[in-house]
Symmetry: D2
Subunit: 203 residues, 4 copies
């Protein structure tokens, strides 16, 4: 297999990229100056060294000398709240909003409704340990921030159950993101669960 074919094969494994798009990427790379390809190759090769999972929240961050990411190292962030998201990119979007100043944990996925071995796929063990460690730092609330779909709701129930021994004993609130009208939603089109959330969360 030539390097062209190899690049196509590898790009085809990227999320949302089919064979046609992979081929288009290769033609794009070929049309770019050699410096661009060299820079990209170098950067891709080194993200593995530069990026590592934060020992606390589990998200990827860059900085080879540190074990904790900038958020988890920031003592100004509130120790009272812990927001649990499914994916790194969810955390990035919440952080970009500037509306949350507590701490995070990335679960690395949701638990499929029909899954038999959820713990195999997601970082439940690490979450449990983190919650135990944060209790004495003043943790008051765990906010479960999963997608508003069946897998997200299933994951919420499972995580509530998993954490209940610790949260019950220590009087820690476990909440979930509120349901309601997302930006752009029109009453005419929303479903029953959204109407329920929007009515309950009226203010």
């Amino acid at each position: 297999m030539s390097s062209l074919e190899k690049v196509i094969e590898l790009f085809k494994r990227f999320p949302g990229i089919g064979p046609r798009q992979a081929q288009r990427f290769v033609y794009f790379l070929l049309a770019m100056p050699p410096g661009f390809r060299k820079e990209l190759a170098g950067a891709i090769a080194s993200i593995g060294n530069d990026a590592k999972r934060c020992l606390e929240c589990g998200r990827f961050f860059s900085g080879s000398k540190h074990t904790h990411c900038s958020i988890c190292s920031d003592s100004a962030r509130s120790a009272e709240q812990l927001l649990v998201v499914a994916k790194d990119i969810d955390l990035a979007n919440v952080e970009r909003s500037g509306l949350y100043s507590g701490r995070y944990f990335v679960l690395r996925g949701t638990i499929p409704v029909l899954s038999k071995e959820p713990n195999k796929y997601i970082a439940t063990g690490a979450l449990k340990k983190l919650v135990e460690a944060r209790v004495e730092k003043g943790l008051r609330e765990i906010i479960l921030a999963f997608p508003a779909n069946p897998d997200g709701e299933h994951t919420e129930r499972e995580i509530r159950g998993l954490l209940s021994p610790i949260t019950d004993k220590n009087n820690i609130i476990v909440s979930a993101l509120g349901r309601g009208l997302s930006t752009g939603a029109e009453l005419e089109y929303v479903d029953r669960d959204t109407i329920r959330g929007a009515l309950q969360n009226r203010s």
Copy 2:
């Protein structure tokens, strides 16, 4: 103009129907048995007689002998809440959910952000009168249920201002539908306002 051309012209004025679709409707009608066209024509001609706006909520309902629709005539519905929607079809969707048992008012539109004469377009006068009348029936809360977009938010502000003399004096709460994750929403894609609502309305 032949009746074919006239039907096409009239269908073109329907919401979301372009010239092509209008033409397709006419060919569909021609291909149906004459009884279908007769039935449709008869029903269209008589909805004007059969349907009228409810004197209370303002929505269209059928029933030539009544002045009030079945919801407004239903004494079992709570007199404490009044839900204000922009359109008849919004009311229909909320009612279908079975999650709300109070009373309704249809504003017949939203107030465009740049509008100079909002009262021309929407039933603000009728709303004001209704609220005054409902105060002595035990009204406790007015729920503004407008779309989660700029016009909807603008309408909410305007209606709050319009009603404040009455609601302030009578201690009536004015609330709005809660913002948050609509069904299917993923944290990765939602915008800042939705994150704000979802965080505020967590539970």
Copy 3:
């Protein structure tokens, strides 16, 4: 069932119209002045009288005193070509282009690939009779203008077979619309059959 509900039920049978859109149509009608509904009802009721199928091409046309549509009555149109389309609206689009000056026949559908009784659904008998009648008027070519999909191709084969006794005997050419690049097509995305047509029909 009230007239409102009846109108919704009837609109739901229109092509491409679901329950939600049907409901929206009714609210639209209710919001229009009574004269609009009356005009629409009247026009729908009378298209059955005003429109009839042309005795020659089979398309619907308006004009109660005539048995033949304006195209079939127009002696200036070439008697040498007969274009066979699946639907009235196909004929309308070709005629609108102004690029064809021969005669038409509307087959009233295509023959599904798996159909067992094609003649039940489409006007094959009437086509056969028309072709026989047109032979002595100077017919030289029959152009089959069906959609570029499996049903269209199947229909083309069936109609060629059906007409072959007459066309063979009378030396009448049977052609089909050319395949190639439709407006907007890009070579990168087109399928094999389109490439074949585009290469064959290069000029």
Copy 4:
């Protein structure tokens, strides 16, 4: 800038990739085993060495020892036809069809309708030289295979003009891909130019 940020910046320059998708790519890469990133980086770095433009048709191909791609080196391919496409990926799609056995040239783009300096952007000089060289090898026809849109049509006219001194003198036919119904096209929806092509190319 960290290597993570650099990779995001570089992916954002890929065709059709926005900031969000670029970020998703990085998280995907981080979640893959280090071997995957190493393999990808290596392959990207080496396509520049492995791939080069064919000295004849101008397309990218892999094979460091050759100056001509496998198609241009294949003496079994007809020397009578030369198909001129805008992009490498167009050539790939035609070649995949197996319907063409002549030779190719990649123009590296189309000429925008409003362009003042077309020769700056596309390989017109190389095309002219190739045509001159192929004349004595038996070239009989040049097939212009550009997209069916204004830029494609403009490019076709310009290239015809550019080549006319050579093609006129040597009696070489210059053709273009046929217009007509692309697979899936329905007569009801196609535009006038497509109807014209489909009627002209009927067979």
